[in-house]
Symmetry: C2
Subunit: 397 residues, 2 copies
């Protein structure tokens, strides 16, 4: 019996992946760029165990067993890992041994964060440790076949997923643009918004967008390639102004494409749009971009903000989106935030303008997660295992 | 002293006008097509009086005097009318005579309907009656300079506003595609949605879209020209299926462009999007398009529906968007609606599906206006005048 336990991060796209050119291989219609978030606040954790004695492949997700055979994507990942093990001459695990997998997220699914990206990245990385396969571009093509954006979670820092040109997808790989140490003060606030609408699943939404949006082609052909170049340069130069503008514009355009889909897909809600409007007002007061929003296929806002600006931004958020639970332990999660030093760094005129902002909405968020740029997946010691003798420790939450 | 009193209709765009190629002349970046609504339910009413004894031009809007000199658009319209009067050899009103104008809308501004289009169409049409100028394409260029889409309200039925190519705008004219008698059973339900957000004024929104949206060019160059051709054909053939699909797609795309604007413009709200989702569900149950939504620069839905389908649609609306005031006199306004004959016209399986739809939102609408395709502006008899000896009758509401 042989085991590996790993954690893998969530990543948030700055330039969005939306639309596939091949459904099964999960080949995207355009390049995307993301930032990897620290696993200290948000991560998937996976244990994979292989044994001669296991009769079938089995899997537990957040403590519940799920049918292994029911997931073609899961099976494809495992098959690809087997292929890479052979290609790499790895003989650590005999190919006949079945595997057991247990995976948990340390954040509630309700947060609407891209749990499948972290989950598949963690699965593929764990399998790569088990089968002794190096982390390289080829491994990102395996994660990509589990969940497209999972390929970006195999690296820390800033990551580009290249669309690729080949039909077999072998050049549709993720590559690191810059490690997290390149821009360590890049922080993130995730505003988790209350929402109960049924939404189009993103796989379906993408398919429909490619089929029916008349604007997506222009985005893919013209807009994204330019933005990729500009954003890479902004990251290289620590140019937060350009970084913020491209990030916000690309989030808006992704949602515009979703709306141009027929029937339209709507992921942001009134609260999301109020956050957008507030961030523009806030940046105007600050005389430049101090915060940039981005929204994935859901209503939650992800705000990029440099560390030194976090206290001021959070102070303003609490002013316009006050919450009765602001002082509770569970409202503001993750990294601690120093108190705003009112005498420091912010102009009195700006302070006055912030202080005179009206309340936009009360109790609009379930909670706020404060995190930052982080590293890629890593292996943990055996005492972190989620499986004992191939079976779950206990029902994980 | 000489007077004319007229009414002019509201029009609702099927293919949207969004973006100018010339700000002052109000020349659009693309053609648009609209349907004119019956003046029985919604109209602007204007009296223009010219007299040798008037010392200055004056104007009253909904009973309140407004500064005449403060409106360059108003002055431009008057100047253009003077020019046309000379060109047409009309000597009915000496050019030195000043004019008094009174204008009212028979619908609350709160309805968020395009009151300026009806208002300027009514002003220009009334002036044309006063100065004895024929209604022709040239007159539509005058209304266009008051408020772009006003040019479309000079005709009944289905109307196309041609973008034109000339710099002076002389070929940016409205032309009737088909009179209201061509498709007399084309009805409309306007769902007036509660909303209190501040919104970007449409003039500003358009300017920003042209400046910052990277998708608008593709819409203007490729999408709209195709849709214009298809919609004209659909109207010619009474093809409600194509009519509905193009109308819904173009509404969605207009809002997509607004969202792709930077900062983004958001006109629809959560209720608007729930209406969209409901209409798609409803059409799916009905096995074809029975209703088509369109949204202008605000949250209100305008639903196109053939007369024979109005009772079923309204019944379903009341099921999913129930209102406590449904039976009040002021909730369902305009044309009367025959009761749904449950034994008639609707398949029992469909009826069951409609009956089992869940409530989406309660009291989501202020009221509903039921109207239909209608005629262009017309002159009323002198006893309808809003001015007596050049002064308002009373404070109009």
């Amino acid at each position: 019996m042989i085991s590996a336990t790993c954690v893998a991060p969530v990543n948030i796209a700055l330039i969005k992946y939306w639309g596939k050119r091949h459904e099964d291989l999960i080949l995207p219609v355009n390049d995307s760029i993301s930032m990897t978030l620290s696993t200290d606040e948000l991560c998937a954790k996976t244990t994979v165990t292989a044994s001669e004695s296991f009769e079938t492949n089995r899997m537990w997700l957040n403590g519940e067993e799920v049918p292994f055979e029911g997931s073609p994507r899961l099976q494809r990942c495992l098959k690809e890992v087997h292929r890479l093990a052979v290609a790499n001459g790895s003989q650590k695990v005999p190919p006949s041994w079945k595997i057991h997998i247990a995976s948990v997220n340390n954040f509630p699914t309700a947060a609407g964060l891209a749990s499948s990206a972290a989950g598949y990245a963690c699965l593929v990385y764990s399998l790569s440790r088990l089968y002794d396969i190096p982390l390289n571009e080829e491994l990102t093509t395996v994660a990509r076949q589990g969940s497209g954006s999972a390929c970006r979670s195999l690296y820390g820092g800033f990551v580009q997923w290249h669309r690729g040109a080949l039909d077999d997808g072998s050049d549709s790989v993720a590559k690191q643009i810059a490690p997290s140490s390149h821009w360590p003060n890049m922080h993130v606030l995730i505003l988790v918004v209350n929402d109960e609408r049924k939404k189009t699943a993103s796989t379906k939404g993408m398919q429909q967008a490619v089929k029916t949006s008349q604007l997506i082609k222009h985005r893919v052909d013209k807009v994204v390639p330019e933005r990729i170049t500009q954003l890479r340069e902004a990251i290289a130069n620590h140019d937060f102004q350009t970084f913020a503008e491209i990030t916000m514009k690309d989030s808006n355009q992704f949602h515009a494409i979703a709306l141009d889909t027929f029937p339209p897909c709507v992921y942001m809600n009134d609260v999301s749009h109020r956050i957008v409007s507030f961030i523009h007002d806030y940046n105007e007061i600050m005389g430049g971009y101090h915060a940039a929003y981005t929204f994935d296929a859901g209503p939650n806002a992800c705000l990029y903000v440099l560390e030194e600006n976090v206290p001021h931004l959070l102070d303003a958020i609490q002013k316009v989106f006050p919450s009765d639970s602001f002082d509770s332990d569970t409202y503001l999660r993750g990294l601690s935030v120093p108190k705003v030093d009112k005498s420091h760094k912010i102009d009195p005129a700006q302070r006055n303008k912030i202080d005179s902002l009206d309340i936009i909405a009360k109790n609009a968020f379930r909670y706020i997660i404060h995190t930052k740029v982080g590293e890629g997946p890593r292996e943990l010691s055996a005492d972190n295992s989620l499986l004992i003798n191939g079976l779950p420790l206990e029902k994980e939450k």
